[in-house]
Amino acid sequence: MAVESVLSAPALAVSVRPRRIPPAVWLIGPSIVFMAFLLGWPVVQGVLQAFRNEEGFTLEFVARMADDPYFWPAVRNTFLLIAVMIPLQFAFAIAMALLLRANPRFHKAHFFIWAIPLALSDLAAGLVWLAIFNDRGYLNSALSLVGLEGASWLAYDNQTALFVCVLIAEVWRSTSLVLVIVVSGLQGIPRDYDEAAQVFGAGFWQRLRHVTLPLLKPSLQVALILRTILAFQTFAVAQALTGQNFPLVVGETYRWYTGLQNPNVAAALALIILGASLVTSIFYLRALREKGQGN
């Protein structure tokens, strides 16, 4: 035994050194390599694709992107959609979560129904609302049944109607994500705070403004980041509802890549989405930190 241990001591000393690598590295390392290869590398390549041709650095693709007649409408539509949709769906989600908290009858069934769109793709949502909004669809049918004249909701020349249709479809589909985050945030807030405020005579709006919303801030922050990033990527809903009539930036990327077979311009368009996503994420994180210091 003693001989054995003496013999194995130097061997141990040698073999221990590589084993010093903590287990965490072995557990985490593969995921880092995998993501670096499939997430990091494509981003670098994407930047190169957008700004480089055979001769080197070029702004040719950016210029082609900006000259396209669909480009500026797509940018405008994307930002407009986000500016209107995000506040609207947050208001809805908070209202829905508060309704659920008031414990209505069958609240579990209602929560299940409200969560169904969580698993829906925006393509599916677009097709669902196409059945309603198309010229001979269910909305116009219902209108004609009550004796009203229908309208061409998805006509090219009526951008406002197009916008509202896409907005309704997206709010219908994506509010459930915000709802689930807000509901789980509310579950983490003890009711005592609310009841204490009530005892001291705070009305509903006062309690919402000064008790519930501040306590929900972390959940809202997460939901805001996630939803805004995902909203920048909206495209299939517009594609399904309107075809080319309501261009969005990601839809344009798709068109440049598959229709026009130009990956370079597609990459340039994709970088706009990347930039916008990063800027909004950093903005939300900043806003959170500043408020954290204020407390």
């Binding site: 997430l39 008031a102 269910y138």
Partner: protein, 286 residues
């Protein structure tokens, strides 16, 4: 002397009670209204997908299921590429799930159990990857996959989807492992389990329900992803990609049937996940 029925009650103010009752009634109405708004479109797409082509051409459309038929749906399922696309979607979903679990569960376990240098940057890195739009990745990856010879294969789509799902898988599994008490693992070690044994025999069974919910979530993400799948494939498309690319040259009936085929699985997914919805999204997403 005094008859009990003629005793004079002090006046009771019933207004708060009535107000409360009215409040409850409003609450029920509001909740039912929202549920109706959520369900009505699903009802209508089912109606459209389950009616004949002639009845779809009629105007106004019937709002009640008067002539239910599987003709439209059968035509959709029979059209070229749809059955194959269904198969591809399932292959890609399962492959994504397996790959992201393979890389994600160990990393999640490490995040939950170990303190290590670089933990903060790693978490920040995960947050950053969540902000990466699919579209940014798809175009360069298409080029890479062409060179590597896996363009237009389910493998390529699996790799993209697994990379997209990995940060979420890591964060969710970390929170699942955090909910398994460290004590039981230590107890297993004291009774002679190896670290791997303690993990497999004690931690894993307790974490399994949460991890299963996380995998359904991964599957749903892959099932729904449209853009990357349609950029990375030509003939081996997943179902949403197939529907998207045939949108412009297909009749309305085909699109409605396609929409219905995409909606039905998601209802089933949510039915499976509903117990885990809030705890999965609540603490984990950061």
């Amino acid at each position: 002397m005094m008859n009990p029925t003629s005793r004079v009650h002090p006046p009771v103010d019933t207004r708060p009670l009535a107000m409360r009752r009215r409040g409850r009634a409003y609450l029920q109405v509001a909740v039912l209204g929202i549920s109706l708004f959520m369900l009505l479109p699903i009802y209508l797409i089912s109606l459209a997908a389950l009616s004949t082509r002639e009845s779809l051409n009629r105007f106004p459309l019937s709002l009640l299921p008067t002539d239910v038929s599987f003709e439209t749906l059968a035509a959709f399922l029979g059209s070229t590429g749809i059955v194959g696309a269904f198969g591809n979607s399932i292959i890609v979903g399962v492959g994504t799930l397996a790959l992201s679990a393979l890389f994600g569960i160990p990393a999640g376990y490490a995040l939950a159990r170990f303190a290590f240098a670089g933990k903060e940057p790693y978490q920040l890195f995960l947050l950053f990857t969540r902000a990466l739009p699919i579209v940014v990745l798809s175009v360069p990856l298409a080029h890479l996959f062409l060179v590597a010879g896996i363009y237009d294969t389910t493998t390529g789509v699996i790799l993209l989807h697994a990379a997209l799902a990995l940060p979420t898988t890591i964060l969710i599994s970390a929170s699942v492992f955090l909910s398994v008490p460290r004590d039981v693992e230590e107890a297993a070690r004291i009774f002679g389990c190896s670290p791997a044994g303690a993990f497999l025999k004690v931690v894993m069974p307790m974490a399994l329900p949460g991890l299963a919910a996380a995998s359904i979530f991964t599957f749903v993400m892959s099932w729904n992803e449209v853009l990357g799948a349609s950029i990375l494939t030509l003939d081996h498309r997943t179902l949403p990609a197939q529907v998207l690319t045939s949108l412009s040259d297909s009749p309305l009936a085909y699109r409605f049937a396609g929409g219905f085929a995409l909606v039905v699985p998601s209802i089933i997914f949510i039915a499976f996940m509903r117990r885990f919805l809030t705890n999965m999204w609540g603490s984990t997403i950061r």
